[in-house]
Structure formats: structure tokens, C-alpha cells
């Protein structure tokens, strides 16, 4: 029996507290599109994506109307293209990016992920050329997102790949100066990348996944914060309980939407990503949750502890609410996409060192951080290596999505608008890590990777 109180609570969560489904992402395998002729391969890729996802946006919009819950993004992830392009000798892999972009536009999704490579233990045929093509791919397409996995707990960290990605990220920004260096915002470097991540820019469809599948990413920082405001004097254990109950409700909606979408599209339902994903909208901020717990400003001492509790409680609440969990699952801390994080960075309370500590206990890593335009490729590579080390040792996913603000310095701002938001240029340590990065090689896997 539905009671009025429950109805009002749900409606309030959606209308006043920004509860939404952040994304329905269709994962599509392109392994059956491999061909040594790149034009034939691209044609197969286009046909497969547009055929599988032809109803994705329509079904998403229908579900939104029926349940009255906004589904912000409908997206597609595909098999890492480096695996598909490897067969096309001496061809420019950027053709695949253009094909993905055309297919995304044809079916009406706003982003398509999977212009990706997996090089955690070394480069296979075509991987180097592929990675070097990423700046051109991202600067000549609109909707394509790219990622590279450079490390894992099992394999250690590919330092050569870190070095190249430092250069790639700078080049992505340089090639897109006219659009506030947006190219770099569509690229992410991973350690322990997951195969079923529905969130961009890092989504790709892993090789062990079924042919086609639906994954869902939920959201709702505003709902969690609103729930906490009702307990101003509760002790921290009670706070954890309140977050768990709220996360349960949020995740149930994700499960419902995923099941419905999967049934209507005739595609198996994969996972729900138990996430708190902020947006720049007022009241949809993870930083504000941390501040609601009792921090004057996000970034101050205590922030890591509050985030650890939040991240853990979100998972505990969500676990029982859905049948299968996956993706990145946890609280996201992208700076430019979170009004509270932006404010904390602008006032100097939130610094990159604190963000790095926070990534040890949040769902992913250094995300949407704007860095000075004169940052060297080696420093970016070292940021990636640091993050990868946190991920490798803690057996968690970490990532780096930093945007060098070409021609700008600390105090300036890059503003993309929409879901990507705006970010103040944050200061970095300027001492050079160049010698370390230029050593190259592989950082060995940690002892605890030997579990067999």
C-alpha cells in the first residue's frame, strides 16, 4: 500500500533535492567488427552501434515520463577501440573516433566512450600509435570520450605509458584552446579500470562483457544532504545510518529504471553503479554533504574521514537495493562539476594534495581538476603515477582527469557550462619529477597482488 507520506517524500526528492538517474549506458561489444580493412571495420562499427542503440534514447525518455524521474544522460560505451584498430595496419585509428561520433549523433546520445587502450603491462601491436592519436581524435570529434588503463594491482604501473599520457593530455588541451581546453576533459587515465563503468569519460565495454548490455549510474547528493539536515546533532554513527537508508532508496530507483530499460530494449541488465555523482546545480554537491557533517569548508582537516564514511555508507545502503553492483560505485569528487568543491577550491581550502588523499577513500580519483597552463608533461605524468600508486596499493580504481588551462595561471577559470561546470586553476607543486618519469619501465605489482 502506498501512503501519502511516502509519495510526498519521493516527489520532494525528485523536485527539490535533484534526485535523478545520472545515466543509462548501453555497452556494445565491437569484437565482431574487427577487420584488417579500416573502412570495412568502421562501417561495421557504425552499423552495429546504430542498430543496437536505435531505441535507447526513446526508451530512456519514455521511462522518464512514466516514473517521473529525470534520466540525465543516455550514453554508449564500446569495446576499447585499440583492440579493434590493432588489425588495421598502417591506418589512422582516428577514423574510428569519427565513426563513433557519427553513430552517437545518429542515435542521439550525448557521449560515447571507448576510444580506449589497455596498456597496464605493456604496449601490444598498434597501442602506441593509438594512444598518440587520442589528441587528434578528441579535438576533431564532439561526443567521443577516451581512456587508457596504465596500471592495476595485478600488473603494477606502466611508467612509460604515464609519460606518454602526460604529453597526450597537454596536447589534448593545446588542440582545443578555443573551447577552454575541453579536449582534456574528455580523457581519463585509469589504474584498475573497470569493465562495466557507465560513467564518462572513462566508460568502455570490457572484453569479458556480453555482446550488448545496459548499465545504470544513479545519483543524488542533494537527497543525502537534505536527509542529513534533519539530524543536526546526531552522532556520526547515526549519520552513517541515515546515509545508508537514503542510498538504499536512491539505488532502488536505479534498479527499477535499469530493469525496465533492459526489458524494453531486449538487452540484458548489467549493473547499477552505486554512485553519488554531483552536478554544478545548487544543492547537488558532494562537498556540501561533507560540510553538512560538520566541516566549515570542504578540504579542511577531517574531509578524508567524512568522505570515507560517506563512500562506505553509500555502498552499504545500496548493496541490498539492487541485484548486481558494479562500475565505480561510491562518491565522486569532480571539482568542476560540484558547486561546493568549486567554492572550496576558489577560497583555497581545497588543495590538490587534499584531493589526492580523498581519492584513496572515494570511488575514483582526481577528477575534473584544472591545472596551470605551463604544467609540464612530466608533472602530469607524475600526477598520474601518484594516483595509480594509490589505486594499485589499495586495490581500488583511481583515475586522473586534469585539464591544463593553456595560457592561464592560478586564479583564472575555465568554464564549460552544463554538467561539466567550471573550474578554477589550482596550484601544483612546481619541483620537477622529470628524472623519475624519464626512467621509464614498469613499477612492479605489490606483494598483496599475489593472492593465489
Amino acid at each position: 500500500m502506498i501512503n501519502v507520506y511516502d509519495i510526498m517524500e519521493t516527489i520532494r526528492m525528485i523536485q527539490d533535492e535533484c534526485l535523478d538517474i545520472r545515466t543509462i549506458t548501453m555497452g556494445i561489444s565491437l569484437l565482431d567488427c574487427i577487420d584488417s580493412d579500416i573502412d570495412k571495420a568502421c562501417e561495421k562499427v557504425y552499423n552495429k552501434i546504430t542498430n543496437c542503440a536505435k531505441d535507447l534514447v526513446k526508451v530512456g525518455e519514455d521511462i522518464e515520463k512514466e516514473y517521473g524521474i529525470p534520466i540525465i544522460n543516455k550514453r554508449i560505451s564500446v569495446t576499447p577501440i585499440a583492440l579493434v584498430s590493432a588489425a588495421c595496419k598502417d591506418a589512422n585509428p582516428v577514423k574510428f573516433a569519427h565513426t563513433m561520433d557519427r553513430a552517437a549523433k545518429a542515435v542521439g546520445v550525448n557521449l560515447i566512450g571507448g576510444y580506449s587502450a589497455l596498456v597496464q603491462k605493456g604496449f601490444s601491436a598498434g597501442d602506441l600509435e593509438f594512444i598518440k592519436s587520442i589528441p587528434e581524435a578528441l579535438s576533431t570529434t564532439e561526443r567521443v570520450c577516451s581512456s587508457v588503463n596504465i596500471g592495476s594491482t595485478k600488473t603494477g604501473i606502466n611508467l612509460d605509458a604515464c609519460k606518454i599520457l602526460g604529453e597526450v593530455i597537454r596536447e589534448c588541451a593545446e588542440k582545443t584552446v578555443d573551447s577552454d581546453c575541453f579536449g582534456a576533459a574528455k580523457f581519463v587515465a585509469f589504474c584498475n579500470a573497470v569493465d562495466d563503468n557507465p560513467f564518462m569519460a572513462g566508460a568502455f565495454h570490457g572484453v569479458g562483457e556480453p555482446d550488448v548490455m545496459i548499465n545504470v549510474g544513479v545519483s543524488g547528493p542533494g537527497v543525502v544532504r537534505a536527509a542529513l539536515t534533519k539530524y543536526p546533532d546526531a552522532d556520526i554513527t547515526q549519520i552513517a545510518d541515515v546515509i545508508k537508508k537514503t542510498a538504499y532508496k536512491i539505488t532502488r530507483v536505479g534498479q527499477l529504471v535499469g530493469e525496465t530499460a533492459s526489458e524494453r530494449l531486449g538487452v540484458p541488465f548489467g549493473i547499477v553503479d552505486l554512485s553519488l555523482a554531483p552536478t554544478p546545480a545548487v544543492g547537488d554537491s558532494v562537498a556540501y554533504i561533507l560540510e553538512e557533517m560538520g566541516l566549515e569548508t570542504c578540504g579542511t582537516h577531517g574531509t578524508t574521514a567524512c568522505l570515507a564514511l560517506l563512500n562506505d555508507a553509500v555502498k552499504k545502503g545500496g548493496v541490498m537495493a539492487c541485484s548486481r553492483i558494479g562500475g565505480l560505485s561510491g562518491a565522486f569528487i569532480p571539482v568542476s562539476e560540484d558547486a561546493g568543491m568549486i567554492a572550496a577550491a576558489e577560497c583555497g581550502s581545497l588543495k590538490i594534495e587534499k584531493l589526492e588523499a580523498m581519492t584513496a577513500v572515494c570511488s575514483v580519483g582526481l577528477d575534473m581538476i584544472v591545472i596551470p597552463g605551463d604544467t609540464t608533461a612530466e608533472t602530469i605524468a607524475a600526477i598520474i603515477a601518484d594516483e595509480a600508486a594509490i589505486g594499485m596499493v589499495n586495490t581500488k580504481t583511481t583515475a586522473v582527469r586534469v585539464i591544463p588551462a593553456i595560457g592561464k595561471k592560478v586564479g583564472d577559470v575555465l568554464d564549460w557550462g552544463g554538467l561539466f561546470g567550471k573550474g578554477p586553476v589550482m596550484p601544483l607543486n612546481t619541483a620537477s619529477p622529470a628524472k623519475f618519469i624519464n626512467r621509464g619501465g614498469q613499477i612492479p605489482a605489490p606483494l598483496h597482488s599475489l593472492k593465489n
Binding site: 511516502d6 515520463k65 512514466e66 516514473y67 532502488r252
Partner: protein, 89 residues
């Protein structure tokens, strides 16, 4: 199968009549109504049976939402499943 219609806004004559008339056009049977008027603010929650709906659920939702816009009200139609999954284990 049921749905929940929520109506909130400034009170005027005929809100209930107009909303019910639209439901009737779609053959949606009204099974429960809770409503109140507090300092000129009208709030109503209506449970409708949509198992014999004539036409699309999304069309009903669009129609009621645009009716709300013309009357200065916020009208939302939501399938009951969203409340069931959120509030029941």
C-alpha cells in the same frame, strides 16, 4: 497497475473536475483522492487505475502536465512502481 497523480499550485475553481475529466478521457479510473487547501495552496494526490488505459501512459502524462501549465499548477503522473520500490523491501 496504478499511477499517482500529484497536483500542487494556487487554488482555483474546477481543478479536480478538469484533472478527473482528462483521466476519464484516457479511461483511467480514480481509486483514491487525498487533497487539502492551505492558505490558497491546493495540493492533491490521486491514485488512478491504469490497467485499462486507452492510449499511451506517456500521452496521459504529457496531457496532464500541459493542463497543469495552462492552470498554473504542477501536475505529475508517476507509475506506482517507483514508490513501491523506494519504500518497500
Amino acid at each position: 497497475m496504478r499511477a499517482v497523480v500529484s497536483v500542487v499550485g494556487k487554488d482555483t475553481v474546477g481543478i479536480l473536475a478538469k484533472v478527473s475529466a482528462e483521466c476519464a478521457k484516457f479511461n483511467a479510473n480514480i481509486t483514491e483522492i487525498t487533497q487539502s487547501v492551505l492558505s490558497d495552496v491546493f495540493a492533491m494526490i490521486m491514485i488512478i487505475d491504469i490497467s485499462k488505459l486507452e492510449g499511451n501512459f506517456t500521452d496521459l502524462s504529457d496531457t496532464l502536465s500541459s493542463l497543469g501549465n495552462t492552470m498554473g499548477l504542477k501536475i505529475h503522473v508517476m507509475h506506482e512502481d517507483i514508490f513501491n520500490v523506494m519504500h518497500h523491501i
